[in-house]
Symmetry: C2
Subunit: 226 residues, 2 copies
DNA sequence: CTAACGGTTCGAGCCGGATCGAACCGTCGA
DNA sequence: TCGACGGTTCGATCCGGCTCGAACCGTTAG
């Protein structure tokens, strides 16, 4: 009758150092192969394979077989969000003893498939202030003006709407404790920033760096932050 | 450099059947003693004591000593929210193999210190529709009319405002996948519902049942749902 | 003061699961 | 066709941590 066992399944799956490391690597948004994941966790591929099976059983990741490779990735947005929340709680309770670390990650990072961190919160604020997105009741929606804006920015909004996935979602940022943009639009927005060369993702990491062109460009299309 | 270890700390602390059961019991919102928690997890108090220390070390729970008793409770709203999210993910991945369980919990339950479930989402919608709460930018706020309404309902809003805790917060309901009211106001609202005898909490459970007076009363003060 | 009770600490036992070597399967390239 | 490579399975080993009995400390009640 109790809900204890159900959360044990999930938490125990995450709560192993090796598996946590694998999930952290996958939070970078890139699909990785079994060997890559084993390497970045510092174990042999046999052991890695067993861990990956556990993560699959728990429903936390998915696989896509491609030739002789198997690409693993975070299962869905809910799992990604759960992991972000967990980092938030961990960070908050650890701060007391260790002190803040990784300020660069606070500035900008990938959260599964969209942008997170200080920059992401700033962008979200400006989208809201310019009435390109707004709350209708409790759900975040793209305004008509917002749709035109996104089209000018190079995003095919109609294609996104046809996906089963929600177009806009507000996602609580653990480092900023404020919302940023998620959902299909959030993912497309990040993709476009990368294509334009406004931001760059670091190799094998969740870290995102903003390039000068991005600083200038964002200011031009969205106005100054604050 | 990686964030793996930090989430391991948290997830491993939750990912033990006994500790998960304890946390689930504490999600009922009541502070419980070490022996009570040991009993509801089905272990001896020595073992329980060790588990409780681990949960304390992880920062997931807090203690308050009172005479020869020690009362344990969920550390804060973030932890409660994390656990709810985890239930949501667990539920979603398990549904495929087990099927939905506990429909009563979906109807109404306690989420740490405020109301959750179908009823809570309904109430939230009606508060929003009547413009008693609204989004200002991204943060949920109580309107002037809402403050008067709450006062009539028997809630001392000024006292709540003076707390360090946020007055209104939107909390994503795992069973409904829509928002409900959290924060100091959410807690006070539930308290008032209990005082009025509109709802009742089941002993040793997160379950909340709506009494006839509550059905009628809520309809009178907030209008019909939908 | 003493007994009862709530809670923690210590120590020993035990079990689950993480780990890796070795063998095996399937795909790709030559 | 054969060898190289990515990945999984099996089996043996080993270690961490969960568990409880026993002893101990502090508080409360009589």
């Amino acid at each position: 009758m109790s809900i204890g066992p159900s959360i044990t399944r999930i938490a125990a799956a995450i709560g192993d150092p090796v598996r946590a490391e694998m999930l952290a690597a996958l939070m970078g948004g890139r699909a990785l192969t079994a060997t890559e994941l084993a390497n970045c966790a510092g174990i042999t591929k046999q052991t890695g394979s067993s861990h990956l099976r556990k993560l699959l059983d728990a429903g936390l990741i998915t696989v896509r077989s491609q030739g002789r490779h198997r690409y693993f990735g975070i299962a869905n947005e809910d799992v990604a969000h759960l992991l972000e929340q967990m980092i938030g709680v961990a960070d908050k309770t650890a701060r007391l003893r260790t002190g803040p670390k990784e300020p660069a990650l606070r500035k900008a990072r990938v959260c599964y498939d969209h942008l997170a961190g200080e920059i992401a919160v700033d962008i979200y604020d400006r989208l809201l202030r310019n009435e390109l997105i707004c709350f209708v009741g409790e759900s975040l929606t793209l305004t008509a003006e917002g749709a035109r804006w996104m089209a000018r920015f190079g995003i095919d909004v109609e294609r996104l709407r046809s996906q089963r996935r929600a177009l806009c979602r507000a996602c609580l940022d653990w480092s900023e404790r404020r919302n940023h943009l998620a959902g299909a639009l959030g993912a497309a927005f990040l993709e476009r920033l990368l294509e334009r060369g406004w931001v760059r993702r670091e190799r094998n990491s969740r870290l995102i760096t903003i390039r000068p062109a991005g600083e200038i460009g964002l200011k031009r299309v969205l106005g100054s932050p604050r």
